[in-house]
Amino acid sequence: MTVRARVAAVAAVAVVVVVLTSIVLLRGSAVETKSESEATRLVQEHAEAIATLVGMPLRDPSIGPYPCTGRFGETGDDVVSYRGVYNIDPPTSGTHLQMLERLRADWVAKGYTLTDDRTVGADRGVLTATSTDGFNLDMETASPDGFAVFVHSPCFERP
């Protein structure tokens, strides 16, 4: 291969690398745009999926936006995460730990990444995970019983 051909090949490879890297970076850096109602609906869906597994309804819901920082440092008044906070009454059949176990199995089956999984007492524990669509899910035993459920959306940009 001539020197010119080598230079051309290296240049081509470099261009391909730059283009691919740019695509990856651009895809990764873009904070997805979502309306408040759509983001709230997604938070609620995740919470309801948890409640369905436990077999008890969600109580005391509170959903609202909070400031957040995107993966590449995106911030601003319109870049927000939506946070849902709920309670679930103690299960009428089975223990709290059995409910956490059921949830763990479901999340693992769905391909979620478990980020915390602890048993802290005779019937108390914490289970948190990141869902495949980037939501942070957290269920922990409350006082004196039952559960606290927290759902945090990824950073979204308001339209």
Binding site: D60, S62, Y66, P67, C68, S81, R83, V85, Y86, N87, D89, D116, R118, V120, G121, A122, R124, V126, N136, D138, E140, T141, A142, S143, P144, D145, G146, F147, A148, V149, F150, H152
Partner: protein
């Protein structure tokens, strides 16, 4: 009536709590109606100068309406205490039942008889051991029932005492007007003494003090939160009207600029309270303090009725106007997270934003000095002691909280031995002016510190890689030595960081970046602070330390 263990276990504390809240609402409603009546009846002598009898009757009605307020509040407090104590006895009973079950013993919830389950006693030595255990559990159960009976009597007595006397109603007389001198006298007394004095006044007297001296009453530690809030809102309204009037009257550009800035601070407080709705309590404000940096104390939910209250001190460069939104968002986030962990009662967590001191500035070296933490010590002590005095029902779980330089204020207050809190929680602390957790709390397991691995305030070494590179560029090979020197300097200034292993407290896991993200939604940093505030210590993730027993 015979009280059984089953009746105790099945008593709904929520019913008593709801009743307590209803009586409290009635007291507030009476108070509001009373205010309207006073405003309307104030015109009576002018429109009907000869109606002396009407005026006299109006005075008696005014006094009786005023005097009805306190009994309603007493009933509310008695019912809340009843609910709290029943809950506590239920928890004790549940613990006893669980312990007994683990030892193979049954408890008859109707008769209170403790017996060994079939097949659990093998030989004669077992019989003696089991009999001893049965006697022990029977003794514990008797004590629980005796406390329940005593509570029943106390609540009944309090309710009876609050019912008006036949014929005389709630009484048609009230005390003398409260003067500025009366209030000045209170400033030298403890919050508990101030509380006793305030409770000794008739509602008419309290209302008159709140009307005539709103800002003084609003800052008075020992006055209940609901009254401080009322007084401060009155003072805020007066200040706004006064500022608008002065601005409308004209004046120099400089003078108007200052007045306008002061008005913006008033609006900031108003907007914040509007955003909080009924959950907001204005417990103090001063829009002119510290060259306009200002002071403000705002609670989310009533700290006098909350079971868990955190009083949070902000740090470097905090001002009333510039930092309100971010800090209130932190308080809201913390409040929601902790409240969800106490499932049985909504709104039983109060988070207080306490900017009652002159936080250090960015444009001078005040952050490297102790003056402002020492100056903040007594106001913080007074405020927290006031919350202890005004809390209704069982003593609440009270938590001192701080961030950055604010943790030095908490440290100064705690090391006096007079800060009446159950836990201390700090984030990103440069040091707390003490050598160890034992200097802050008798039990160091109740001192909780967290710091991000990238927070340079908690540890100068954490400033890497950026400041490490910068130090390397600036000082070459001496960069690491400069960083170590900076850390030594900070330790010299504010003491060893409470996250240091040698400090002796608990070091909670902080997964957030830098110095200002400890309240980010979804973070372990926020969860851990909320778990401590809710007294659910077993849920806290620790780098080091030892968790105490949960708050029940």
């Amino acid at each position: 009536m015979t009280l059984t263990l089953r009746a105790l276990a099945e008593t709904s504390t929520a019913d008593f709590t709801s009743a307590a809240e209803a009586w409290a609402r009635l007291a507030v409603g009476l108070d509001n109606g009373f205010e309207k009546y006073v405003a309307a009846a104030g015109e009576l002598p002018y429109v009907w100068p000869t109606g002396t009898e009407a005026e006299e009757r109006s005075g008696r009605l005014r006094a009786e309406a005023s005097n009805a307020h306190e009994p309603c509040q007493r009933i509310s407090r008695a019912l809340r205490t009843h609910a709290d104590t029943v809950r506590s006895l239920q928890n004790m009973l549940a613990d006893i039942r669980a312990d007994a079950a683990r030892e193979g013993l049954d408890i008859d919830m109707s008769t209170g008889v403790v017996s060994a389950a079939a097949g659990t006693v093998d030989d004669a030595s077992d019989v003696r051991r089991v009999e001893a255990r049965i006697r022990n559990y029977a003794g514990q159960l008797t004590e629980v029932l005796e406390r329940a009976y005593a509570l029943d009597r106390e609540t009944s007595a309090e309710l009876d005492a609050s019912v008006p006397a036949l014929g005389s109603g709630f009484g048609g007389t009230t005390g003398p007007a409260i003067t500025e001198a009366d209030l000045a006298t209170q400033s030298g007394r403890t919050p508990a003494q101030v509380h006793d004095w305030w409770e000794s006044l008739t509602r008419d007297q309290q209302d008159q003090a709140m009307r005539d001296f709103p800002q003084t009453v609003g800052w008075l530690d020992g006055v209940p939160a609901i009254d401080r809030d009322k007084a401060n809102r009155t003072a805020l309204q007066h200040e706004k009207e006064d500022l608008i009037e002065r601005l409308n009257a004209g004046g120099s550009w400089d003078a108007n600029s200052d007045l306008n800035e002061q008005l913006q601070r008033v609006y900031k407080i108003e907007d914040t309270l509007k955003g909080l709705g009924e959950s907001g309590f204005l417990l103090g404000f001063d829009t002119t303090a510290y060259d306009g940096h200002g002071k403000v104390v705002i609670a989310i939910n009533n700290p006098d009725t909350a079971r868990h209250t955190g009083v949070w001190v902000p740090g470097l460069s905090t001002t009333l106007w510039g930092s309100m939104d971010d800090n209130m968002l932190r308080m809201k986030s913390l409040n929601e997270s902790a409240d969800a962990l106490t499932r049985d009662r909504q709104g039983d967590v109060s988070t207080v934003y306490w900017l009652g001191y002159d936080a250090p500035d960015l444009d001078n070296v005040s952050v490297l000095q102790e003056d402002r933490s020492k100056a903040g010590r007594d106001p913080y002590l007074g405020f927290v002691q006031g919350l202890r005095a005004t809390h209704e029902g069982e003593p609440g779980h009270l938590v001192a909280m701080g961030h950055s330089y604010g943790t030095t204020v908490v440290g100064e207050a705690a090391k006096t031995g007079g800060l009446p809190v159950d836990d201390i929680v700090v984030a990103g602390s440069p040091g707390m002016h003490v050598a160890g957790a034992g200097d802050l709390m008798a039990d160091p397991r109740h001192v909780w510190a967290g710091a991000s691995g990238t927070d340079p305030v908690a540890e100068a070494g954490n400033a890497r890689p950026w400041s490490g590179i910068a130090a390397g560029i600036a000082f070459g090979a001496a960069g690491p030595i400069v960083l170590a020197g900076a850390e030594y300097g900070l330790d010299e200034l504010h003491g060893i960081a409470p996250t240091d292993a040698s400090f002796g407290g608990n070091n909670w896991v902080a997964d957030t970046d830098g110095h200002t993200s400890y309240w980010d939604a979804g973070s372990e940093s926020l969860s851990n602070q909320a778990r401590i505030l809710a007294g659910q210590y077993d849920l806290v993730t620790l780098n080091s330390g030892e968790r105490p027993e949960n708050v029940r």
